[in-house]
């Protein structure tokens, strides 16, 4: 607590915390749907595209967020289309696109400004990267993402669980897929400044994977992911401040710890249940 108070006395850290908490929350909520739909890799692909776009923006002196948000949204559309066309395996297509985007970004960078701290911070993240304007934009977009997610919660559940059924009952499935992709794209661009292109996808997949170890209901997983992501982010930032480790990497490590703890808890619960069944002579009925 003392540590947190000390951290909050630096304005740039307050900004980073405020922006980061909102972005982690968005990422974790969308992540539940993405992970369950086997879309985990899309987050990774989009973050590389976002890196490419940011490099171009820096090289030509444009505003980084204003360039990369539209580019990544377009990339998200594109990745979904590949998936539904089905001529090329989508994981291969995503791997290809992310490599190309990364390569394009690196070439443009080396031809113009060279590897500045700016570009390196997009790669690995930096808490100093959040300007006042970034934070304002993050807050607005995050609130938008959260609002849409809450309003569409039931439809997102239906579309995630069973697209064909949802379509047969008259839900506009492609619209919701696009919505999820766009929200993901926006979240990734916002989170990338702090977490870095290499690590941002962890904000999306870790909280939901961790929650799925323990919780049995969709609602439980969603709520737990939201809480976990914020808690892990704050602890990660505190660790980063205390031990001077990079912020993004610290948050990932805290997420890993949470995952291991939840897995262990799940294991213990299962063992207990199995023991009880043995006690009642039902061991043979275990699957």
């Amino acid at each position: 607590m003392e540590l947190l108070r000390e951290m909050l006395s630096y304005p740039f850290l307050v900004r980073a915390l405020a922006g980061g908490i909102l972005v982690s929350l968005c990422a974790s909520l969308l992540g539940v749907s993405l992970v369950l739909k086997r879309y985990s890799m899309i987050g990774d692909g989009l973050s590389h595209v976002s890196f490419g776009a940011l490099s171009f923006a820096v090289a030509f002196g444009w505003s980084p967020l204003r360039v990369s948000v539209p580019v990544v949204v377009v990339a998200a559309f594109f990745l979904l289309r590949i998936r539904s066309n089905g001529k090329m395996k989508s994981d291969a297509a995503i791997a290809m696109i992310s490599a190309v985007a990364l390569a394009a970004g690196i070439i443009v960078t080396s031809m113009t400004t060279g590897m500045t701290t700016d570009v390196s911070s997009y790669m690995f993240g930096s808490i100093l990267a959040m300007s006042k304007e970034d934070v304002r934009l993050s807050v607005i977009l995050s609130v938008l993402v959260l609002g849409l997610f809450l309003i569409c919660y039931n439809k997102i559940f239906a579309v995630t669980f069973d697209e064909n059924f949802a379509r047969a009952t008259g839900v506009n499935v492609s619209w919701y897929n696009v919505l999820i992709a766009v929200l993901t794209a926006v979240t990734i661009v916002l989170g990338m400044r702090m977490m870095g292109a290499m690590l941002i996808s962890s904000l999306i997949i870790f909280p939901s994977l961790t929650s799925m170890r323990v919780f049995k209901s969709f609602r439980g997983v969603v709520i737990s992911s939201g809480i976990l992501s914020v808690v892990c982010f704050v602890i990660g930032m505190m660790a980063s401040y205390r031990y001077s480790t990079p912020a993004g990497a610290s948050v990932v490590m805290v997420n890993l710890a949470a995952f291991l703890i939840f897995s262990a808890a799940d294991y213990v619960v299962r063992m207990n249940r199995a023991d009880k069944k043995v006690g009642h002579g039902l061991a043979g009925k275990e699957e």
């Binding site: 559940f157 059924f165 949802a166 047969a168 839900v171 209901s217 969709f218």
Partner: protein, 234 residues
């Protein structure tokens, strides 16, 4: 009584290849219709068309007004993603009510009551709080039927529903469907491989092999040439 779904001279194709040619059929309220045929005979294609997931390349499919409003109750084949999906039975069943809400984002008390009613109907109210991925195949099947009934109890469309079920679950499944059809007047349209059982259960058979080999009542089917060969003279 108007038919729930009516096809006249419908064709389906993928990229210049005809998958299904010239199908004329209808499903009336309370009927039990089965589509049979070998793998690749176009059964699933036709069914996707009936569900509105695929546009016909020729002919007309007309769906009754009532069904168009509510959407069609559909029991799909399970996907790999669903096998480990964290959701309770209650959540899955309730998601069938979605089309009743229109654009309003949340469920009302009426939908929740409907979900409870359908869970009772299928005897899964006792496991409403259980996780879908921890259920047996038969229980998962019943959950999905309850979900489909939440959308509409006029017509239930099923795609190879017994795939992956063990024999006792299969017997139970046919019993549930028979009960829904005979006692509650739910029309059934089922795509199936299981001809031996189908000829005992269904009122009407559509035998498909790209085009319609046979369409008519089950009695006629057993006497027909196509039926005789396919059922081995059962």
């Amino acid at each position: 009584m108007n038919p729930l779904i009516q096809c006249s001279h419908v064709d389906f194709g993928y990229e210049n290849q005809d998958a299904v040619v010239d199908v004329t059929m209808d499903v009336n309220p309370g009927e039990y219709v089965c589509i049979v045929g070998e793998n690749g005979s176009g059964k699933s294609t036709l069914m996707k068309g009936l569900l509105g997931l695929l546009k016909p390349t020729g002919g007309v499919i007309s769906v009754s007004d009532e069904l168009r409003r509510s959407g069609i109750g559909y029991l799909p084949q399970q996907t790999a993603a669903q096998k480990d999906f964290p959701a309770t039975v209650r959540e899955v069943v309730l998601s069938g009510c979605l089309s009743r809400r229109g654009n309003w984002p949340f469920y009302s008390g009426n939908e929740k009551k409907l979900a409870v009613k359908n869970m009772e109907r299928l005897g899964i109210i006792g496991i409403a709080g259980k996780c879908y991925r921890e259920l047996s195949g038969g229980q998962q099947q019943r959950t999905l039927i309850a979900r489909a009934l939440c959308a509409t109890d006029k017509l239930l469309i099923m795609d190879e529903p017994i795939t992956g079920l063990d024999p006792s679950a299969i017997a139970e499944f046919y019993e549930i469907i028979r009960k829904l059809n005979r006692e509650e007047g739910v029309a059934i349209l089922m795509v199936s491989h299981d001809v031996a059982t189908v000829v005992k259960e269904a009122d009407k058979i559509l035998h498909l092999k790209r085009e319609v080999l046979f369409y008519g009542t089950t009695k006629e089917y057993l006497k027909s040439n196509a039926g005789y060969i396919y059922t081995g003279g059962a």
